[in-house]
């Protein structure tokens, strides 16, 4: 579903992502883990075509993102880490705008939107101006609007930040259901519990490099570590290596 070929990104002379290569099979939940400033958001922005990579190739569903961005974006849904939206629109107006933007404004999709509003329990805010939403409500609105065009690939940056326990639970279940019904999900997180619970495959990134990759079991390598211990161990080793 996704193929990254030696993707690099520099901000000025600071290299945020140093040669990322990944291959992600369809219909799974893929977890992207790493400490603060590791380059997760940067990688995601390149993956969703928000920012071009400094070098390297990105393929979504067999299609080059650089050569055919419009097609890639049509089949991708994106939820950024900070849910900034047009504050002066009402939630439903925003949804209609998104539907139009993805040329998808039909009865079917509108029904889907109504369904998600109910699922996330923000039904009564549907006709409110977004300005008055709480952080979590905005987050939910952004998540639901990223799903309306039924993307084949959903890319989510820190999905659980700002959600209440019920919202988080709903979302985790939704991820599972979506993956089972043919959507590939790429999510970044620092919450180990989330990764452990929903991800089929995991990659750990530190300082712009992938340092470990595989299923939960593969990462454990037979040891009986929790993911948290593993994460701390792996990122620690990196620090030591760099130090020496």
């Amino acid at each position: 579903m996704i193929r990254l070929d030696n993707v690099k990104k520099s901000y000025g002379d600071h290299q945020a992502v140093k040669g990322l290569s990944l291959e992600i099979a369809p219909n799974q939940v893929f977890g992207f883990l790493g400490p603060n400033g590791a380059g997760k958001t940067t990688s995601i922005k390149m993956l969703t075509g928000i920012m071009p990579p400094s070098s390297g190739e990105i393929y979504i569903d067999g299609c080059s993102l650089v050569q055919n961005p419009i097609h890639c974006k049509t089949i991708t849904g994106y939820v950024p880490d900070r849910p900034y939206v047009y504050e002066k629109l009402k939630a439903w107006e925003f949804v209609e705008f998104i539907l139009d933007l993805y040329q998808n404004n039909n009865k079917n999709s509108q029904d889907l939107a109504h369904y998600y509003f109910e699922l996330f329990k923000i039904d009564d805010a549907k006709y409110k101006i977004i300005e008055d939403f709480s952080h979590g409500m905005k987050q939910k609105l952004v998540i639901l609007s990223s799903l309306l065009h039924r993307p084949k690939l959903l890319v989510i940056d820190e999905p659980m930040v700002g959600l209440d326990p019920r919202g988080a639970k709903t979302l985790k279940k939704l991820f599972r259901d979506l993956a089972d019904s043919g959507t590939t999900i790429f999510l970044s997180t620092h919450t180990m519990a989330v990764a452990q619970e929903v991800c089929d495959n995991i990659a750990i990134i530190n300082k712009g490099n992938i340092v470990a990759q595989g299923t939960m079991d593969e990462l454990r390598q037979g040891q009986d570590h929790s993911l948290e211990q593993l994460f701390l161990q792996i990122t620690e080793e990196e620090l030591l290596e760099q130090g020496s």
Partner: protein, 578 residues
Amino acid sequence: MNLRHLIFRNRFRSFVNSSNGKNFAQWLIFGSFLVLVLVMIYFGTFSLLKKLDTLNGTENYGSALDLASSVISVGNLIKERLLSMVILSIFFLLMFSNVISSISHIFLSKDTELLISSPISPYQIFQIRFFEAGFSSSWMSFFFFFPVLLAYVQNYQVAYSSLFPFFLALIPFLMIPASLGVSFALITARYFPIKRSKRVFQFMSVFFLTIILVLLRVLQPEKLFQINGIHEIQTFISNLQIPFYQHLPSTWLSKIAISSFTNQSQLLFEPAVYLFGTGFFLLFLVNLLGKLFFYTAWCKSQETSSQGVLEQDSKQNTSSFYSQLPLHLNPIHKKDFILFFRNPELWSQIFLIFAMVGLYLYNINLLHLDKLSIYNVARFISFLNVAFVGFITTSISMRFLYPSISLEGPAFWILKASPFSMSDLLYKKFTFFTPFILVIGNAMTLLANYILDVPWWLFVINAINISIVCFVNSLLAISFGALFPNYRAENLNKIFMSFGGTFYMIASLSFMFIFLSSQGFPIYLAYKHYVRLADISTYHLSIAALSILIGLLSLVLFSVVPYKKARSALISHEDGCI
């Protein structure tokens, strides 16, 4: 270390850090433009003053004005009046900008919340904010006053040290509008939640500016140089001798300036007492208000309420304005349309446009009344008129088109992640406002041509020219707006009063200059040939062709190149917030 110093140091560091990124060439262009403007102000003032000197007791009684000069030094009186008028206008502008900046500094600054939770007393925070608000809206006036006053010193042929009283008195003078602005903001915020009143303020600020524009025009500075007959001399002179608005700080300041230029130091005392007295009294008052009100007002300002006074959709209704708009409209246009009308900061600027258009036509009309009897002058003016109208539409584009990319703000990711190409976005933003600008530009030009009564062929040329000028200016505005975006601006002014805004201004003025002046000679030749039926030499013809070529080249250069650059800039954006 003093906490206040700490905060100022942080502000200063943020400023230094944020300007690091701008490269040297940008600073250089910006700086030289600023210097150019200052030099122009200086020479403009200097030559005007020199002209006025000829009115001081000359012997040629050719006009009523000369006759008046024989009685009294009219020139000096006019000079004094002129200075006090300039100071008065600055005073009005300062009042206006202080109200706005105090609201944004005192109540809408994002770091106030952090400071309130730190162990600094609210009163100290207030003092810091007061200083920031006053400083940010006043420092520009120093820049402006300097060349004007320098020209006066040159003209009066006195030592530079006589500038000293003026700049000393400028301190209390600047304190007055700052204190008034902050007090106004404090009191309003004490009684109304500011997020609600912010919309009203945004609306009022533009309204205020509009009124000032009209007021300045109604003062009719040109009247200073007109007397129509002997019988008016008496009133003319006595009008000049009484300062208008005796009890305004601007009058005191201009008195101080003139007294020190004319070495009448005994006259310095009275206005200085008034000015320093009022300044420090208001300073005391605003501190008192701050002590009493700041904290409660700030708390109140944090209440969110979307039920703004100007909000149409205040009731919880289940309507979607979006779906009521015509279906075939583009989604970007629909979205921008709604956002435009829900944001008073944006739509209230329409008043400004009306004021500018109205004032302009009024001016043209005055010209006509003065009977510019020479036929060719009217034609020349109608041609020049295109440049003037172009200038007005440039400033309209600056306020509407230039910010439109930046206004996507931190929500820009929505468009970037969607299957929507960036060149399409530029195009959509361009087509949103440009039709209106074309209509305004053409309407103004045609009305002015009608008033000036020009022949039909000039009508056509002017209409074509203004359409091209409006078109290219809008394109430049969008392109420069995309090349120098500011997605995190707190308000609209911050977006266009910037590097990019200045560059846009320079580019569009240069374009108009090159494009319009390249036509001058060819039009003259055509007129000579077809109307006067004169022969044209091939030499002249080739020069005309060359100049048309230059005009066309500038058209391409100023439209295609920036647009292409803007498109690739939008694609490769690396701003952190998107």
